[in-house]
């Protein structure tokens, strides 16, 4: 009973965070802002959803595969986000007009 309730709550939190992250992907003004909101919220959302599925299933093969999925999403998603943002900055995607400071560009100008 407690397992059912806890797993359902985790699945609800995960789906809600997925939806909020996608709303951030729609609404924010800039590539980097969109990347921040979407990656953070979708990583937490999907990890929470898989954790809920693991709690509901218990220690079966399905549950262990869900745990493996959590580990893989946590390992791979920040790496992909970092690579995409670095590539976007290097290919001169413009920042939002409200941007205050851009330290990475100053760094690269000082180095070259």
């Amino acid at each position: 009973m407690i397992r059912q309730v806890a797993g359902t709550i985790f699945i609800f939190i995960g789906v809600g965070f997925d939806f909020l992250g996608v709303l951030g992907l729609i609404r924010l003004p800039d590539v980097y802002n969109r990347l921040q909101a979407a990656t953070k919220c979708v990583t937490f959302g999907t990890a929470g959803l898989l954790l809920g599925v693991f709690i509901l299933e218990g220690f079966t093969s399905f549950g262990f595969k869900a745990l493996l999925g959590i580990a893989f999403v946590f390992l791979s998603s920040p790496v992909a986000a970092h690579a995409i943002s670095r590539a976007a900055h290097r290919s001169r995607v413009p920042l939002a007009p409200e941007t205050v400071v851009d330290m990475y560009k100053a760094d690269r100008d000082a180095k070259s």
Partner: protein, 112 residues
Amino acid sequence: MKVIRWGTGLLILGALGYLNFFVLQAPLLVSLINVCLFSALFVLYRVVRGPSSADRIIAVDILGILIIGMLALLGRFYKQGFFMDIALIWALLSFIASLAFAKTLEGRRIDD
């Protein structure tokens, strides 16, 4: 103008949530899968109308992570284990595809 836009958006979202969770006579997991599919529709909007190609890469990455969660819910609904295998393989391929897209956007070769 801003109030009208926000009001229309919140009204549409509220109506869809009410229809999904209270009118539709379906199990709870089907409603949650519907929320994930609606988020995927938003992501496809960003894929079609992204100003730069970095937006499209981010959107495809987030779409892969959403599909992992949706496959976990589908496997929970149909009570079959092979959905989670598909989710793990999808996570792997999505990660590799994001890295390859980032390298191509930066202007380097894949094997660099």
